[in-house]
């Protein structure tokens, strides 16, 4: 599929040799794959319903009112109850529920009292429930997915802008470089957290949740792209003065061609090493914002919100904070391990202290 040059192949081979990083990468990949299909694993909607000879797959479709399955209500079917009812009546109908049959929003109080409940495999609350009897695992899974998606989107955007501007600065130099450097200096001195809080507080309440998340992303990107330009600028400067660039110029290659096909691949290795750490900081940032109450709107599941609940109920419901904190540690460590491994394997110097 990919046709890497020998240099890159060598780097990849080295990456594979760094076991911690490599296995972290595999674990994270599997996690990402699972998160991508989270609706099939953690959901209050059934995977398959067989009702009166027809098969239904409600997971990704429009909602099915209870009336679709012979129930007497027009709102979303409660598939857990449906399953129980089918079992009782011993009909030919059946339901297959996901592994965790709860969504991230519903209150499922055992004895009609909403309170945090300890992990209980029999009720399929594998990590327990939060203060209003919502399944913690469900909230974790969907919260993590949002955080990761957010982090990746953040990274891609920041790099796109950073690379573009950084390369241009380094390549064109002169007044353009000088001017932009000053702009960046001013821009990067605007306190990022305040700006996020201020901008986020003026979003109209009518905005939908995805719109709010996108906006939050935009604001964060707007104030985070600057650091990337420094690296890109110096790297481009360095590469620009190399002979192969001069050669390309003499042949008559266009600026565009020189930047994209000659310089960029050569500075990429620097970039790649930064990526995991950008992701780490993005996850930390969104979690922190949530914790402070400036992140995702209530009741969107999020790691920060769970952490907050957990710290508020440290004495009475330690499982909340354990779950949230554990997840955060796991993800951040995995990404950091991968990052260190990439840095190591892309490092041209063979002898480093890290191993």
């Amino acid at each position: 599929m990919f046709n890497f040059n020998p240099q890159t192949q060598k780097k990849l081979a080295r990456f594979r040799k760094i076991k911690l990083g490599y296995y972290s990468f595999i674990v994270l990949s599997v996690m990402l794959a699972l998160l991508a299909i989270a609706e099939l694993l953690v959901n209050s909607r059934a995977l398959v319903v067989q009702y009166e000879g027809t098969l239904y797959f409600p997971t990704y479709t429009d909602f099915h009112p209870g009336t679709d399955f012979g129930l007497d209500y027009a709102y979303e079917t409660n598939y857990r109850d449906l399953a129980a009812q089918f079992d009782k009546t011993a009909s030919s109908n059946w339901v297959i529920m996901p592994l965790v049959p709860y969504n991230a929003y519903e209150n499922d109080a055992t004895d009609s009292i909403m309170r945090p409940e300890a992990p209980n495999a029999a009720r399929q609350h594998y990590l327990g429930t939060d203060t209003t009897s919502r399944d913690i695992l469900a909230r974790l899974v969907y919260g993590t997915r949002t955080a990761l998606l957010f982090a990746f989107a953040f990274m891609v955007s920041v790099y796109l802008i950073g690379i573009m501007i950084g390369c241009a600065m380094g390549y064109f130099g002169g007044l353009f470089d000088l001017g932009f450097q000053r702009i960046i200096e001013i821009w990067s001195n605007i306190p990022f957290l305040y700006m996020v809080i201020i901008v986020f507080s003026v979003i109209p309440a009518e905005a939908s949740i995805p719109a709010r998340i996108t906006l939050l992303l935009l604001v964060m990107v707007l104030f985070s792209w600057t650091s990337m330009t420094y690296y890109m600028r110096t790297e481009t400067y360095k590469e620009k003065s190399r002979d192969y660039v001069a050669a390309a110029r003499i042949i008559g290659a266009s600026t565009q061609r020189i930047i994209f096909t000659h310089i960029l691949p050569n500075v990429l290795s620097t970039l790649v090493t930064f990526m995991p750490f950008t992701i780490v900081s993005a996850i930390a940032a969104i979690t922190a914002l949530d914790f402070l109450g400036f992140g995702l709107p209530v009741p969107t599941p999020s790691l920060g919100e769970l952490l907050k609940q957990g710290t508020a109920n440290l004495r009475t419901a330690p499982w909340i904070v354990t779950a949230a904190f554990g997840t955060l540690v796991l993800i951040l460590s995995l990404v950091t391990f991968i990052g260190e491994a990439i840095r190591e394997s892309f490092d041209p110097k063979q002898f480093t202290l890290y191993r």
């Binding site: 709102y75 003026v202 309440a205 709107p297 109920n313």
Partner: protein, 649 residues
């Protein structure tokens, strides 16, 4: 309103950059309004009258409330320091004007300062404060009051009739930027007569079942302090603590901006030995610390950094501080549960009828049936709370006896929504109109601690095809939002003071809904704009309601007022712009052992245990308890339930 949060943050940022506000105040030009005030008295000579003692009606029946039982306990010890949590730092020390009506004001005004007389929290009769005795004269619609000549301000200046006259000038000026006060003092009083330095009478337009309360609950203002009131009042008095009649004073150095406020018991307080007052305000220093986060407050309480903690929420009573808690089981922390009887704060959803869709009564009726308060009460509050039925529950005969809040009923809700054109469910189960308009509203609140209530309502409403977009703001921003009338639906409540009958003008009169709700022809004004800074959170403007409110204001017979109150409650219920939520018929408290209360703990009509300042700090017990905590000595468990005033539903 989000713009305001923006402004607020900005202001905070700017303020942080400022040095000392004190300098700013000093830099203002000096003002003396004495002449202006006198001129005002002259031009309003029919209001500001003077008379001679000989003019007094002969048949006055003087009352002095002396027979009423003491408030507080003779066992109370003076001294000590109480540590209290403050949810937000006060944004001003003014007691009127923008931003003044916050959670801090009770500490320097509502709960601590003295009025002419106060309702006894058990009997509702008046016991004397600044007044020595008083008499109601029905003929002249006046209340005659003899002032206690011993009364002084905290700076030692005697309180005289002139301070009362000045109070009327003050609350009627536009300088204070407080339209509610302007209106109240212009419309609810018709004159004040000074007979001598310590004898006044105050007249009101109509006799009421509680005529005396209108006058007796007045609190004077120190004229000598407010002689600089002028155009720049808000700025000039922003951080100045006014001489007070209260037991507690605030020294400049005890105001740590953004962090804490310390109140000190005035050693020269004039009422220190007065009956009904001598066993109250026992604690020498009240140290108020800003702790915003409720979870943190609880931790601070458990550490003993804060002395008392309200346990009204089931989460705290049953989970976080149950009988099995080590500190409770060892008797270090005592728990109390007191059932009271008083006007209930109307917790519920205030629907802004000015917003599109919400002006449709069918939608409002649908929302009524789509909110599952019973589930919140049963599962979230564990059945301790009860369902509120109207916005004015707990006023005895004035509350409507029969109106029942609409129950959660998906079918009826859907039927109402269908009438309003929302007849199909979208892909996510939320109702839609044929043109794709979704049945979705923002449900905002400033109650961070009750945010779970909103998410439960949201989940349940979705069953009826209604979407609530939950927006939880901090307390100040939330209140600002409704005051600007920018909300769709807001979850909130009013703190009702102890009154005989409910007020309707504030919440239901069209004057408080729009700048000009109706044209002179009686038709709806097409260009009307919602009026900010009023308590008409529903932007409710019904002419019939206005008429009844005016009648209610002028009515003097209790029976007729009851009828009117019922009619208005019915109309309000039919209009369906308020979804009654819940009320708690009690308050619960956890406190460290060294905080002592009278044997009967609290009063029938009290809203909270700290309201009357009858508790005290016992330093000896504090030392003993802290030592016991270290050495592991325990005390008997203290859980007391006071249910003599409990109403079984």
């Amino acid at each position: 309103m989000t713009i305001n949060r923006f402004a607020l943050t900005l202001i905070t940022v700017i303020l942080m950059g400022c040095g000392s506000d004190q300098d700013a105040t000093e830099a203002l030009p000096s003002i003396d309004n004495t002449a202006e005030v006198l001129a005002f008295y002259e031009t309003h000579a029919d209001f500001f009258r003077s008379g001679s003692i000989d003019d007094l009606p002969q048949d006055l029946v003087w009352e002095d409330g002396a027979h009423l039982p003491e408030v507080g306990s003779p066992d109370a010890k003076k001294g000590g320091t109480e540590y209290v949590r403050l949810a937000d730092f006060p944004r001003t020390l003014r007691t009127v004007g923008p931003d003044s009506n916050g959670s801090f004001r009770p500490w320097i005004l509502d709960s601590t300062s003295m009025a002419l007389a106060h309702r006894h929290p058990d009997t509702l009769d008046y016991f004397p404060g600044l007044a020595l005795r008083w008499a109601v004269d029905a003929d002249s619609k006046s209340v005659f009051v003899e002032l206690d000549p011993k009364a002084t301000w905290s700076d030692g200046v005697p309180i005289t009739a002139d301070d009362y006259r000045f109070t009327f000038w003050f609350f009627r000026t536009r300088y204070i930027t407080a339209p509610w006060y302007n209106n109240w003092y212009e419309s609810q009083y018709t004159g004040i007569t000074k007979y001598s330095d310590h004898l006044i009478s105050i007249s009101i337009p109509e006799l009421k079942p509680d005529t005396d309360s209108k006058v007796l609950e007045l609190r004077p203002l120190p004229q000598h302090f407010y002689k600089e009131v002028g155009e720049d009042f808000l700025e000039r008095y922003q951080w100045r603590f006014a001489p007070t009649t209260a037991a507690y004073i605030l020294k400049d150095e005890d105001l740590k901006k953004g962090r804490s406020v310390r109140l000190t018991r005035d050693p020269n307080w004039w009422a220190a030995d007065k009956k009904h007052w001598r066993y109250r305000f026992n604690i020498d220093n009240i140290h108020l610390m800003v702790i915003r986060d409720t979870a943190k407050v609880f931790e601070a309480f458990k550490r003993g950094d804060i002395d008392q903690f309200g346990l009204n929420l089931a989460e705290f009573w049953y989970e976080k501080l149950p009988a099995t808690d080590p500190d409770v089981a060892a008797g270090y922390i005592e728990r109390k549960w007191f059932f009271n009887e008083r006007p209930r704060p109307p917790y519920g959803l205030w629907i802004n009828t000015h917003q599109p869709l919400l002006d449709d009564q069918n939608i409002r009726l649908g929302i009524q049936h789509a909110t599952n308060w019973q589930l919140v009460i049963d599962q979230f509050f564990r059945g301790d709370y009860s369902r509120l039925n109207t916005a004015n529950d707990g006023y005895g005969p004035y509350s409507h006896p029969d109106i029942k809040a609409r129950a959660f009923d998906i079918e009826r809700a859907v039927a109402y929504f269908e009438t309003a054109g929302f007849n199909q469910r979208g892909p996510d189960g939320i109702l839609q109109r044929a043109d794709g308009t979704r049945l979705a509203f923002t449900l905002s609140s400033g109650y961070e601690a009750l945010k779970d209530v909103l998410t439960i309502l949201k989940e349940e409403a979705a069953k009826a095809g209604l979407e609530f977009r939950v927006e939880v703001l901090d307390a100040t921003a939330g209140w600002k939002k409704v005051q600007e009338k920018q909300h769709d639906i807001h979850f909130s409540a009013f703190g009702y003071s102890l009154e005989l009958y409910p007020r309707f003008w504030e919440t239901f009169h069209s004057d408080n809904a729009y700048d000009k709700a109706f044209l002179d022809t009686g038709e709806i004004n097409p260009d009307r704009k919602p009026k900010p800074q009023t308590n008409n959170l529903e932007t409710l403007a019904i002419q019939q309601m206005d008429d009844w409110i005016i009648q209610y204001r002028t009515e003097s017979s209790a029976a007729a007022m009851v009828t009117l109150a019922h009619q208005m409650s019915e109309l309000h219920h039919d209009y369906a712009s308020f979804v009654p939520g819940f009320y708690s018929g009690f308050f619960r408290l956890g406190h460290w052992r060294w905080i002592r209360y009278p044997e009967h703990f609290s009063y029938k009509h009290a809203s909270g245990s700290q309201e009357y300042f009858v508790h005290w700090v016992d330093e000896a017990i504090k030392t003993e308890t802290l030592a016991a905590k270290d050495s592991g000595v325990t005390f008997p468990v203290q859980l007391r339930i006071f249910d003599q005033h409990r109403k079984t539903p």
